[in-house]
């Protein structure tokens, strides 16, 4: 399909801006002006509408396809939350309004929403306080490890190392490194953190260990069975426990990370709390902490006065600073809050129950189709390997051909030919059954003739694309290559 730039017709205009202002050359010296106008598309409104409507039709999406992408929690995003975030009282609110003298009075509704969201997240996780500033999960991780650094600094020491299990999301080590930490990778055993390995590492580096970042259930979809011992090991070294909340959909209402002994947690509102993924974002990654880390949270914080009015508190002398231009991805937080209020406490616990049910049902039904490595209950997702002789990538592409989005492939790195599926609670049994039958058919076909899968997908706008050529040619804009 041609790009919008290739469809541009010189002189055409959607006439969006009407103005009788003089030309810029009459208002600024020529040396401060660009030599030629930006080469943006020149299109009618219908040209633009048709182009992007057609582009949209070249996507799979949760609204049209089962999307069991592991680790991504691609659940249905309810439509009413879109309405809530688009209310003009929120959408048109300038963030600096609340920063003006008496300006807080003009943003009481927005401040109340932020406060409410924070209280809900505290009760869900068992944490003392939350910041809603982080703008995505990885941004939350960065905030969380920065809080850990601040905790140790306040105790008059700089601890340089963070422990991360080898099954963790790539963002964990990347976030810790970005905050200036050195990463020590902890090898898994039987899909879990090996407490003996952990003990040995702490014995060796104890005085220099700032903390441990855990994903629990981990990326293999398994609950860590040694959690109490892990918590005790870290506590013993006065090191902190970070909980990567990407998998919160598995435990909501069943375990509170604060009660379990974690010091800091980030949540992905765009996963657990049903805000749409937007083709890659925007997300929102609030960070919760227990009492000993609360003084270091980013500023400002939303607080409430005795008269019930809300204000922005900047008087936080030990704060790490500011992670976002203002109060975080406010529009995303609104959608998540609306979802929480709609479901209530019982509904949120039910989410975890049915997410885990669907994952275990799917895993059980696939046991005679794929190689499923761990013979125990899984959490909200599970890993499987392509049967001997077949490639995970070919299976993924063959699923696309049958109208299903593929599971996550080749992650975690520690599983051979890995297919990692997360069905979520919003999918019906007949969808799960249809997916099982599709996979059964693909595997049967592939075993009979392994080359049969290599051609897939044949019925999408493009066939398998040459990624190596893309990296070599580096055509990243219409003007390159």
């Amino acid at each position: 399909m041609k790009t919008i730039f290739a469809k541009s017709v010189p002189g055409r205009n959607a006439c969006q801006v009407d103005s009788d202002a003089p030309a810029a050359a009459h208002m600024l010296p020529a040396g401060l002006l660009r030599a030629r106008p930006p080469r943006l598309p020149q299109c009618s409104e219908l040209d633009v509408v048709r182009h992007f409507t057609r582009l949209s039709q070249r996507n799979y999406s949760v609204d049209a396809n089962f999307y069991p992408l592991g680790s991504c929690t691609m659940k249905y995003s309810p439509k009413f939350t879109e309405y809530v975030a688009s209310l003009p009282g929120f959408a048109r609110l300038h963030p600096l309004l609340a920063r003006l003298e008496r300006g807080e009075a003009c943003a009481q509704g927005a401040l109340q929403c932020l406060y409410k969201a924070e209280r809900w997240l505290c009760e869900i996780t068992g944490m003392k306080a939350f910041t809603l500033q982080p703008m995505a999960g990885a941004n939350g991780e960065f905030t969380g490890v920065s809080l850990m650094a601040a905790y140790h600094l306040a105790k008059g020491r700089r601890r340089a190392k963070i422990l991360i299990p080898d099954s963790a999301h790539g963002t964990n080590p990347a976030s810790a490194a970005l905050a200036g930490f050195e990463i020590i990778s902890i090898e898994s055993r039987d899909g879990m953190v090996d407490p003996d390995v952990l003990s040995a590492v702490i014995a060796e580096h104890g005085d220099d260990v700032a903390g441990l970042m855990m994903t629990c259930p981990n990326t293999l979809g398994l609950m860590e069975l040694h959690l109490p011992r892990i918590v005790a090991e870290l506590r013993g070294a006065d090191a902190l426990l970070y909980y990567d909340g990407a998998n919160m959909n598995a435990i909501m209402g069943k375990m509170r990370v604060g009660d379990a002994g974690f010091d800091v947690v980030h949540l992905n509102l765009h996963k657990t709390f049903a805000t749409p993924h937007g083709g890659g974002g925007p997300g929102s990654g609030p960070v919760g902490v227990n009492a000993r880390l609360a003084p270091f949270l980013p500023a400002p914080r939303v607080a409430v006065r005795e008269d019930g009015s809300f204000y922005l508190d900047d008087n936080l002398p030990r704060s790490i600073g500011t992670m976002a231009p203002f109060y975080g991805s406010f529009g995303v937080v609104l959608k998540a809050l609306a979802y929480m209020l709609r479901l209530g406490g019982d509904g949120l616990a039910r989410v975890a129950e049915y997410a885990v049910l669907n994952a275990n049902y799917l895993k059980k039904r696939l046991e005679d189709v794929l190689d499923v490595p761990f013979d125990r209950l899984c959490a909200h997702e599970f890993v499987a390997s392509a049967p001997e002789g077949l490639r995970a990538l070919d299976i993924a592409k063959a699923l696309l051909e049958r109208g299903f989005h593929a599971p996550t492939v080749y992650f975690p790195l520690i599983v051979r030919e890995c297919l990692m599926a997360e069905p979520t609670e919003t999918e019906s049994r007949e969808t799960l059954d249809a997916y099982v039958e599709a996979l059964r058919e693909i595997v049967t076909q592939g075993k009979a003739d392994p080359r049969a899968l290599a051609e897939a997908p044949r019925n999408l706008p493009v066939h398998r694309l040459d990624e190596t050529a893309a990296a070599r040619r580096m055509v990243l804009t219409e003007d390159m290559g």
Partner: protein, 443 residues
């Protein structure tokens, strides 16, 4: 059960397949002493009740006043077609386009977005966005730190204080030094910036127009940076960029922007997006997703995520950034917005704001004791020195339904009387006449 389709019979049958008796048995692996101590949350509510509650909360906000508030974040009209198109759930309920064949819509849009950003800024290439203008500035600085292996950043004090505060927070654990070059009456000092660049310097960071609305040419600063092996980094306001000398023309290495003014509602601070672009030789230092054009086996053109060896899911601790989710839907909105405006629309939008800002400057400086903070060229935003504290004046005018701008004293001690006033197509000459009248009455 909202959003859960299972019937009681399906539940029984599925539990039987799994081989457990109850839903709670599925959580047997959670150690008993790690079960929640409490989970005291209200009951769920109907969709109607939740919507009504938020309508009531939204009504407690007052976004509707006449406003000249900008300071980096602007109330622009968003064509309704942006909402209609970005509101298509084929776009907004998709994930990051890992499976390219079923994500050509998103991927081609990212490629077009990268093209639009590169052409707007006249840089070689761009990424698929980062979170906001502040993180874009930080990521740009990190590109320079990695490429030059130097640890000092030189920052103009007239870069938006919100982003400078973020930069300081993000760099806190990295043993970097940030040296700030003072502004003078709201004017950046290109000569002082050039003179301060040396061989220890990873990057010099400026903004155009600067926080005070002042427009300048930083070509000399970037030339000095190049001579010293440092990066020249500039943050711009995309709407004014329709007419202003481009980062490419000035010789910047990295150009970034807060993309809010391109089709994103103000939404009390987000979600917005950070634009990031660079010269071709720095491409492997760029953080985040990048889409590239390629072909399939039959020679059909298609798009994929490319240069992924830079990213966290491959390189983990040695990635160029930790970013995973970006602002894809916001980038799509920005692209649609720019496509609807076209070159003519964007230029007209910039000129309209500039003309109104000049009209406001003329009317308000006619009032006793009000003067321009400086005589430098400005865009659609202008700094005025008032005869009294700006905070109090703003509060007084807000009681009369008008926000006259942003008092900058909170960020710049000694400038308590300075008001920063921005104009967009949301403003009119009539509003300015009324503002002049009200303000005149108060002074």
């Amino acid at each position: 059960m909202p959003f859960i389709p299972h019937t009681p019979q399906e539940l029984r049958e599925m539990l039987a397949v799994v081989g457990v008796r109850s839903l709670d048995d599925l959580f047997a692996d959670i150690p008993p002493d790690m079960r929640p101590k409490h989970f005291n949350l209200p009951k769920g509510q109907s969709e109607a009740a939740v919507c009504a509650m938020f309508e009531e909360l939204a009504a407690k906000n007052r976004p509707g006043m006449t406003s000249f508030l900008g300071a980096g974040f602007y109330a622009h009209h968003i064509p309704k077609a942006v909402d209609a198109l970005a509101g298509r759930s084929e776009f907004y309920t998709a994930y990051t386009p890992y499976q390219s064949e079923c994500s050509q819509g998103t991927l081609q849009a990212v490629f077009e977005f990268q093209t639009a950003v590169s052409r707007l800024l006249e840089m070689d290439c761009a990424n698929a966005s980062v979170y906001d203008g502040g993180t874009a500035l930080f990521e740009g600085a990190m590109m320079a730190v990695r490429a030059t292996r130097r640890r000092a950043l030189l920052v103009d004090e007239a870069v938006n204080p919100v982003w400078r505060a973020m930069l300081a927070t993000y760099c806190a654990g990295l043993q970097l030094t940030i040296k700030t070059i003072p502004q003078e009456n709201g004017m950046s000092r290109p000569a002082a910036l050039s003179a301060a660049v040396n061989k220890d310097c990873a990057a010099v960071i400026v903004q155009n127009p600067n926080f005070f609305g002042v427009v300048a040419d930083y070509a000399g600063v970037f030339a000095a940076a190049r001579e010293n092996g440092a990066f020249g980094i500039i943050s711009v306001y995309p709407v004014m960029q329709g007419v202003l000398k481009t980062p490419g023309e000035m010789g910047a290495d990295v150009a970034v922007a807060e993309g809010q003014s391109l089709g994103q509602p103000l939404s009390f601070g987000g979600p917005w997006l950070g634009l990031m672009s660079c010269r071709k030789e720095h491409i492997r230092q760029l953080p985040g997703r990048i889409a590239g054009r390629t072909t399939d086996g039959d020679g059909n053109t298609g798009y994929v995520l490319t240069l992924q060896a830079r990213e966290q899911h491959i390189r983990r601790a040695r990635a160029t950034s930790n970013i995973c989710s970006n602002q894809a839907l916001c980038a799509l909105r920005a692209l649609i917005h720019l496509s609807l405006l076209g070159p003519d629309g964007l230029v007209r939008q910039a000129e309209h704001g500039m003309a109104l800002a000049r009209f406001a400057a003329e009317r308000l400086t006619a009032l006793r004791g009000v003067e321009l903070l400086n005589d430098a060229p400005f865009g659609n935003e202008v700094a005025l020195r008032l005869p009294t504290g700006a905070e109090g004046l703003v509060a007084g005018l807000m009681d009369r339904g008008c926000v006259p701008g942003y008092p900058v004293g909170r960020h710049y001690p000694g400038m308590e009387n300075v008001l920063l006033l921005a104009c967009t197509e949301a403003n009119s000459r009539n509003q300015i006449e009324l503002l002049a009248e009200e303000l005149g009455g108060m002074l």
